[in-house]
Symmetry: C2
């Protein structure tokens, strides 16, 4: 048990502190590890549904969770979360109900902290609050960039940007094309068309339920110059 606790604390420190100018302290990580609950969700089940009260904040330990919303008869995916990602804190801070459905894409382990506990920690640990704020800012920055991608139009550029963002460290994106389509807010057949172009240009390789990036630099050039 003590072992589990310390490994959890180390993992939390790594995740929340990743790429950070303000790394989280071991003490704070330990305090968080003390308080988190751990829960497993089978693939396809919901962590929470749109409209529910936001009583907890969640961190993905393993697996993958997608945030989506029904809008005008069409399911749009706002984000696909991977281990280390935090979610649910925005509505909790605002005291609003959950704006999205959170559905486990595959079997997933999720850490949760309830609202009073988190508020207590954030109030008493200024550095943790600062770190949390930076985490929020990071997500906000990504969201802004994504909005620009979408607004700038051009499925090709949007897809390239999304692939680069979603790729794991081995340059692979593992999800059905239909899910990519719902992330981009476009038709599956449109994703298919563009994906084929990219494959013919030698930039990616398309497989079953996965896409391998062969030329990241080439994909990057699509973001600026093009159309």
């Amino acid at each position: 048990m003590a072992l589990r606790h310390s490994r959890l604390a180390a993992w939390i420190a790594m995740c929340l502190g990743r790429g950070a100018r303000a790394p989280i302290s071991e003490l704070d990580a330990g305090l968080l590890a003390d308080e988190v609950g751990e829960q497993v969700f089978a693939g396809g089940t919901f962590v929470f549904r749109q409209g529910e009260t936001a009583a907890q904040v969640h961190i993905i330990r393993s697996g993958s969770v997608e945030l989506s919303q029904m809008s005008r008869g069409r399911r749009v995916t706002v984000q696909v979360l991977v281990p280390g990602d935090v979610f649910g804190d925005v509505p909790m801070l605002l005291g609003e109900p959950e704006p999205f459905d959170a559905r486990a894409a595959v079997d997933s382990t999720v850490l949760s902290i309830d609202q009073p506990t988190l508020f207590r920690l954030l109030s008493s640990r200024p550095l943790l609050a600062r770190r949390w704020m930076i985490s929020l800012a990071g997500r906000m920055s990504g969201l802004q960039q994504r909005l620009v991608d979408v607004l700038a139009g051009g499925i090709e550029a949007q897809l390239a940007s999304m692939l680069l963002r979603q790729a794991d460290d081995r340059g692979r994106v593992s999800m059905p094309q239909a899910q990519l389509a719902s992330l981009l807010g476009v038709q599956r057949t449109s994703v298919q068309r563009v994906l084929k172009q990219l494959a013919e240009a030698g930039l990616v390789e398309v497989g079953y339920r996965k896409i391998e990036l062969l030329d990241r630099a080439g994909l990057l050039t699509l973001l600026d110059e093009d159309a």
Copy 2:
């Protein structure tokens, strides 16, 4: 001078605390008012440019500032800020350069706080930090909703949503249609076409450089049911 200071503090308390569950204390508002610098920007001039170092966070005192970015040959407007809005804190927290151009749409007054001062305040005033975090969360929530609007497609619904969001308390949106178009990431002529439909349906009235909302409830119905 003391008068100016106290009015500024009251204004800051009202703005940052608006709609809040965690109103800002008078003390904290006073501390902020002590530290802010005030600067006037003529319409059309830049508060900062994309790529510059983010050394300050800004609050709009009066006027209007638009955040935009050139992307793929086209200027997309990420946000139109009005008095009380905060900007520039995200890149500052992340230690990244400014991702957008910030241009004053009309003559505007902007309050600014430099990075070390803000960090000092946030560290020493936990409630202020909490309030700032809630402000971030609020902006994040709006951004997410906007992303959903855009992804769900349908210029009509996007436009309705944008009009409802941008309207002042008298139900008016004051900006050229070209700016609306750049907010939505669509062609000006497309905005024109849809605007005409809405006008014929009696939902809005279109004027020179302004749009009046006649039937907010009617606009709201466009968001869900439709296409």
